[in-house]
Amino acid sequence: MKKFISALLCVSGISFASMIGVDALGEEQLVGGSAAMAGRGFAGNAKTGDIEGVSVVNPARQAFDTKVVLNLNFLLGVTSASRSSSSFTTSNISMPSMNLSFPMGDFGTLGVSLWQHYASSIREDIHNEEEKWDAEIEYQSSLYELVPTYAIRLPFFRAISLGASAHFVMGSFTRNLTLGPDNSEISKEDSWATNNSTVSDYVNGDWEIKNHPAYYTFAAQYRGRMASYFFSVTTPYTLQNELEYNFRFSETDTLAPTRIMREIRVPAMLATGVNYRFNKRHNVMMDVAWRAWDRDIENVAGSWSMSQVTKTQNDFNISLGYQRDGSDVFYDAYWDRMVYRAGLWYKNWYVEDVSEIGGSIGIGLPLGRKGMMLDLAIQGGARLTDDDRNWNESFFGIRLGLVGVGNWGKTRGQ
């Protein structure tokens, strides 16, 4: 199964574009990274509906769904990093998540999500004509989670649901730094020995949770006539990354690697949110998620003059969003059946002195009569840093979400 999922994610091109935290965990993909959520500033985990689907932050929400939902999300991101007069831009395409939820009436709702929680992806060549060297840098990290979820509405308090999810962590990390020789310290007569001698500093390893198969999220949701709330707790866990460090001359000409196990203690997360509905189809929403990091993260580093740790800070995410739901009536005008979204967010990264501010707009385009939907979101913003290592970044992204809806288990007219 792991292999199958890995292959699937490879085909879809796993990559986030930020260069911040690449030696630690990489960029975190908020709340499952769905296009619908992104369109409203990653707010709205408390919003219930027929086809809201799986929320990895609030597994209780899906209990109110009435239809089977399959949701596939894609992200095209462009990030520009800059410091002083220097800058560079990277672009990436990725598939942050795919979700399937399966309501079973009074028996609750089952769901599963494949969520790329943290990732980093850089692959660039550098050519220096003057000094005649070439270098290649590659970071490919993907920490993804297979998240089965279950939620059920309480028997006598039908406005309240409880949900839980288990997060099975998988993924791999690779850093490959291919370098040409710098002969400045040796005599000219000795420089012949390094002709065509590129060396790769190669590190790779797998992600898993220490001493446990998964970490868990527990949530409660209240759906009111106008206002809905949720509250969730995610357990702390320790990520384990067994890394092999090597020097390579080619894939077959390589040293025996040395192995180092790094452990990253991820703290518990508390999350809450509210959705307020007015004038039937208008919603405003706000979500907050918070984690208190008490330890720095050990970096991949292992060589050169790279920093051994990434200092952490309390990370939190506040998001505000608006959504106008589309009309359910198929014969209404198309623009009226569309969903409109907008949102803002502010995020304190887990990396010390890094914050992010972003905004987004989005639409949901109905496809056919059954409620199929194509979600589009455009997002942009900036990541602000205040240290010597990380550069400020501005980012722009287009997200695409495909929502397939079905009515399995129900007869017509039900």
């Binding site: 260069m19 030696d23 894609f74 095209l76 462009v78 520009s80 800059s82 220097s86 800058s87 560079f88 831009t89 990277t90 672009s91 395409i93 660039e124 550098i126 220096n128 000094e131 270098a135 840098i137 730094l177 370098l179 040409g180 020789p181 710098d182 400045s184 310290e185 040796i186 007569e189 012949w192 020995a193 390094t194 002709n195 001698s197 060396v199 500093d201 460090y245 090597n246 020097f247 001359f249 040293l255 025996a256 690697p257 040395t258 192995r259 580093a301 292992g302 060589s303 050169w304 003059s305 790279m306 920093s307 385009l365 496809l367 194509l374 010597d388 290592r389 550069w391 287009i398 695409l400």
Partner: protein, 479 residues
Amino acid sequence: MKKKNLLLLPFVALFVSSCSFDMDDEGLSRWLSDQGMPSSYKVQTVTVSDLKPVSAEVFKDTLPLYAYSRGVLGATEGMSFDAVFDFAIDSAFTARLKKMDSVKSSLNLRMVDSYYKSPYLPSNYFPIEEDLKLNVSWILSDKMSQKEWNKIEDIDDSVWMYELESWKSKKKADTTISVSLGSKDSLLVFDMPSALVNDIRKNSGYRRLQLRLSAPEASNVYRFYGPGLYFPRFRIEELGGNGDYVTYNAYRSASLPKNHEKCSDCLILHSGVFDSLVVEFPSKPIMKALSDFYGDEFPYTLGDSNDVRQAVVMAQVSFYKDDSKGKQELDMPIQVIAGSFMDSADAVVRRIENYKLDRPRVFKSGHPNMVFYDGDSLSLQVTAGLRDFINKASDGRSFKMMMRLGYPVLLDRDTVFYDRISSDKDTLQLSNGNSLAVDQGDTVRVLFSHFDYARYDFTSIKNKPATLKLWLASKRGEE
């Protein structure tokens, strides 16, 4: 909007983004620098002088050489090469043979043209003249059925080669052949002693004949074609009478090398066979030199003890050499092939090392890895071996390398060092001092494609210290 158009959107966006943004190399380079990463690795050299081997041992190659296309017969100083041939004698001729009054037999060997007619041979190479003392021994099988006789051709070559290692023959005879080979000769005819043909006359019927020629006192090595190119032929003919004769083609042939070196302490290698010299250097002086240079502890013993703090980009061992005790047939330097012993999948394997060209040096004073050449040092590259050795030195191993004599070098100062087609008319300066004119389209060969059956004495390696030079790439940061 139609569904198809919507699905196309992300791909269009991807295309646009990939076209719109170009990487700024300087920007990325500065980013790497801010992360503490370099954009090139710093090369540093460390020299370990006065390196004395803890052991040096010669491994003599005396296994039979299958002479499918080429074989040798004769001797050089310290080595001899017997030639063995496998024939099938048919009953029809042996029946006639019995009635003949007088017969003789001979073995005809076609000489290797690409060697004997080569323009690279020394000008005084011909004529080759000697009275060759030949010992002929043979194994004539018992009478066979035709079916068995037909199967002689199908005997596995490997089975035959294995059987040759325990050759037992009571039938033998000595003879002396007067050999005289000029540059235009291409056939060597050895008249066989009468005892051989008389033995065949006595034993009629289908038989297998294995014939072995031995000339340990020969002054030369004779190169002949094997049955893969031109059949070695055994001819029996009637003297007088009708002049009846028959010629049998050898199904297979082999050369059996024998090492006659008597000095057990000497490190003598012979070319043309896979004699090898294994030299083992102690770990301590190499570790100490690295420790002095980096200021770190060597060998590395933390964690799993695999040292990946640095990697060897190039390693070169320089030995003292003394060509005066060597002997060769051709007046050309001979390349010394270097190999190392290294880990591979939980085993230790011997690998031949790559040879990287120091072009300015080659142009100025020739390749450094040749014997029978100017100078008193021999430099061999053992990069992969040293890389593996430093990586795993914590287990207390020593560094082991191997050397072997390779092919003669035609172009000793060639900075290209691979065979190529000449793009123009040119005059090549050969390593033996001769000039060779080449036309456009001619093949320019760097190495002579035939072995010089030379002998080289490496004994001085035991007493004269070697020097190891390392080019290193280090991952250490600025402390």
